[in-house]
């Protein structure tokens, strides 16, 4: 079930109406949990058992960690949680990748090895909910959070349907307190949520799903395209992945908001970032802060020598890349971002920034950061390493063997989207909508939908991040 489908609309309407029709807090939570499991089961009911197992393990581990008197016992229960969650990820997401890589290495070393066929299906959302449950156990272990004694609360935290399959990755310290309070409908920001849902829908259904018509043909056969074609394909992929993922996040936050739950912001106009560090403060914020808090800082963060910091940065980004997918292309993507973060740190440590006027630094920084991000996307999207290198040559050096292009049309569309992105960052349209009187807001909101739906691609595409 995808947020842009009619059946989700029907599902959400029922969930919403029954939720607000129920009076008691527990009844509402039970209802939302049922809805969440139905939502997940719409993909594959069998994988519900994984979510239940993950929830149960962390429920028990959380209490044991908290109740244990000795540090060694606490650590053991934390290990149980980590092994269980990482074990799930390892088996369902990475086992095939590690076996393939091992076989490739053996071949490289001259040994004979056959490739077993595993046939493991990747459960939707596994990377997201395992990170959530791990953060719960880690927070309890480090004393940042008291464990919940309610299995229902923890189950809802793990399985809450708006963010279950593609985030935002929610922290228990943020979500569990929300489950203690029975909210009234009149207190929720309905207009904000409705506008956010609309914006998310437009990003996903009208932009991301439509630019597929450029992106897919290009990446299917990149060797036949000219440098202009390569630029078009790569820029449109940057548009596609941003609109797809941030559109999903917007709709998730809006749906949760309409049910009375506030989820954290996940995107904040990342392509307007003036440097790569700022980019990561704006892109997939819930993941980047997770990686910072549970990987980078525990590794030592920047509390050491320059090279120690750089090592931590690179490790964090390489693992962040691997989190996205079980493939070397994702590792390279992470590595490119890690490299950019290291170079940016060096730049900041030098005297050079003071020599460049601030406006020039901003413009060059924004364009340069976007260009580098696009270059990294090439590895993220390409089918093979050699294809990615070929596209990089076209994209960076304007050296391409092919002659096909998409014409200037997509470039004009891209320019329009850039303008919309800049305008969106001012939040002018959203604020104007919120200032309208109730009846005017209702009329405008209703009138905007047919326009958006007309540009919707009838062939609904699955969200890109579902595969992670």
């Amino acid at each position: 079930m995808i947020f842009t489908e009619f059946r989700f609309l029907g599902f959400f309407l029922v969930a919403f109406l029954v939720h607000w029709g129920l009076r008691g807090l527990t009844a509402r939570k039970i209802w939302l949990l049922i809805c969440s499991y139905v939502f997940y089961a719409a993909w594959d009911w069998r994988f519900l058992f994984l979510i239940l197992a993950s929830t149960l393990v962390d429920f028990v581990a959380g209490m044991r960690i908290h109740d244990a008197a000795e540090a060694s016992r606490k650590r053991r229960w934390l290990q149980v949680s980590l092994v269980a969650n990482l074990g799930l990820l390892g088996v369902f997401k990475y086992l095939g990748f590690f076996i393939d890589s091992g076989v490739d290495l053996l071949h490289f070393m001259g040994f004979e090895a056959s490739r077993p066929v595993l046939g493991i299906v990747l459960p939707v959302g596994i990377s997201f909910y395992t990170f959530q449950t791990m953060s719960y156990s880690l927070d309890v272990y480090f004393g940042r959070l008291k464990p919940t004694r309610s299995l229902l609360d923890l189950a809802l935290f793990v399985g809450f349907f708006p963010q279950l399959v593609a985030g935002p990755i929610v922290r228990a310290s943020l979500f569990l307190p929300l489950l203690k309070e029975n909210r009234r409908f009149s207190t929720i920001p309905v207009r904000y949520c409705l506008v956010l849902f609309f914006v998310g829908f437009v990003k996903k259904a009208c932009i991301s799903d439509n630019v597929v018509a450029v992106v897919d043909p290009f990446f299917r056969d990149p060797g036949h395209f000219s440098a202009l074609g390569a630029w078009t394909g790569v820029l449109m992929y940057a548009v596609q992945i941003y609109c797809d993922f941030s559109g999903y996040s917007d709709m998730a936050i809006a749906c949760a908001g309409l049910l009375g739950y506030t989820l954290p912001l996940n995107f904040n106009f990342p392509y307007l970032a003036a440097d790569i560090r700022e980019f990561w403060r704006r892109w997939h914020i819930s993941l980047s802060t997770w990686l910072r808090d549970y990987l980078y800082i525990p590794l030592g963060g920047s509390r050491g020598s320059k090279w120690f910091t750089y090592r931590n940065l690179m490790l964090t980004m390489l693992l962040g890349g691997l989190w996205h997918g079980a493939g070397w292309n994702f590792v390279i993507w992470g590595g490119l971002h890690g490299l950019a973060l290291v170079v940016h740190r060096e730049w900041e440590r030098s005297r050079l920034p003071a020599l460049v006027p601030a406006p020039v630094r901003f413009v060059v920084g924004t364009v340069g950061t976007f260009w580098w991000v696009c270059l990294a996307w090439i590895f993220f999207r390409s089918a093979t390493f050699s294809e990615a290198l070929g596209i990089c040559r076209s994209f960076a050096l304007f050296d391409s063997p092919g002659a096909r292009s998409f014409g200037m049309g997509p470039m004009y569309v891209f320019a329009g989207l850039v303008a919309a992105h800049v305008l969106g960052a001012t939040h002018m349209a959203g604020r104007s909508m919120e200032k309208l009187p109730g009846w005017a807001f209702a009329a405008v909101y209703g009138a905007l939908w047919p326009i958006a739906l007309a540009f919707m691609n009838g062939a609904v595409q699955p969200f890109i991040y579902f595969q992670f």
């Binding site: 009619f6 043909p217 014409g407 009846w439 209703g446 009138a447 939908w449 326009i451 739906l453 009838g458």
Partner: protein, 348 residues
């Protein structure tokens, strides 16, 4: 509560008004070929007085060049254009007629319709394609649902089909995908114009014959047909046995045929239905003619009366005539038309 109901009503009103405006501002989501033919016709509307409609059977099976030649020679000169398009149902024909009406063609006199496949639904996969959504206005959706309910099918299939029609109606009401062609063109991925222009045929009269050069169309059918003439013969035998099917016309099909006929008359032309040679009998059309509901029907679907149209030499496959077969059928159609016209049958 009252305030919420009021706001919801205002929102729904905004939606309805906006969807009406969007629908009037954006072109419908017809098939690229039909849209190309419409665009061409819009520029040359005053040159034509006769139109042919139907599915790929009409698209491949009626040559305006042959028709115009014979009618001129027989003293009833016509200038015709073929609007046939692959997979076009009667509903699509009606939709195209509505679009033609908006072009105000000045001199239309005769409109030939082969309403092949009068069923409203071909399968769930077809339902969310632009042209299918396009014809699901309230009236046609109601007819389609009534047709489904009247059909002798199990409850599960009936429920599914009714649901699909309602979904398509909702999609149409909500304007879903109406701007797809605009988006495709903006992204430089619009339909291949050279291919579409080729769809107009070598003489730009809408006829694209099937011949040995054109191997791209329905290759599978052609191959199967070439390998298995026996199966074709068996189907023809079954068709012959089916000749005198006494079933009455379905009320919904009748209503739809009447709608098509009225729309043609609104265009100032005479509706003439024709049944092409094939391996499926058009029961509703034939029953409608038998019961007097369809006035003008020219039949080429009976093997005993037109054996040459069923001869393997004149066929591309079980469903379509070859170029030679199409020329032959068009000759017959033109002569029957002239005879009927001279007998006063096709007078406005």
């Amino acid at each position: 509560m009252i305030l919420r109901a009021f706001l919801l009503s205002v929102s729904v009103a905004g939606f309805v008004v906006s969807s009406g405006l969007v629908r009037s501002a954006l072109p419908g989501a017809g098939t690229p070929l039909t849209e190309t033919k419409l665009a061409y016709f819009a520029e040359h509307a005053d040159e034509y007085d006769t139109l042919f409609f139907g599915s790929s059977r009409a698209y491949r099976g009626v040559s305006p060049e042959v028709f115009d030649g014979i009618t001129a020679a027989e003293g009833v000169p016509c200038r015709s254009f073929n609007f046939g398009a692959p997979a076009a149902r009667a509903t699509d024909v009606y939709n195209t007629l509505c679009k033609i009406e908006r072009l105000h063609p000045p001199g239309l006199r005769f409109v030939f319709v082969d309403p092949e496949r009068l069923q409203f639904l071909t399968g769930p996969d077809d339902m969310l394609q632009g042209p299918v959504i396009d014809w699901h206005d309230a009236g046609t959706t109601w007819l389609a649902i009534a047709y489904v309910l009247a059909a002798d099918r199990d409850a599960a299939h009936t429920a599914r089909d009714v649901g699909e029609h309602l979904r398509a109606f909702l999609y149409r009401t909500a304007c879903i995908g109406l701007a797809q062609e605009v988006t495709r063109s903006a992204l430089g991925r619009g339909a291949d114009t050279s291919e579409l222009e080729a769809g107009l045929g070598p003489r730009f009269d809408g006829w694209r014959p099937l011949n040995s050069v054109e191997a791209d169309v329905r290759e599978g059918n052609r191959e199967r047909f070439a390998k298995n003439h026996r199966q074709y013969a068996q189907r023809l035998e079954k068709l012959a046995a089916d000749r005198d099917d006494p079933r009455p016309v379905s009320p919904q099909a009748l209503a739809f045929l009447t709608r098509i006929a009225r729309k043609v008359e609104d265009l100032g032309a005479v509706p003439i239905f024709y049944a092409q040679p094939g391996v499926k009998r058009q029961h509703d059309l034939i029953a409608a003619a038998r019961e007097g509901a369809v006035r003008n029907l020219l039949r080429y679907d009976r093997q005993d009366e037109h054996p040459e149209l069923f001869a393997i030499a004149n066929r591309w496959d079980a469903y379509h005539l070859s170029e030679q077969g199409a020329r032959r059928m068009t000759e017959m159609l033109a002569r029957d038309f002239v005879a009927g016209y001279k007998a006063g049958r096709f007078q406005p």
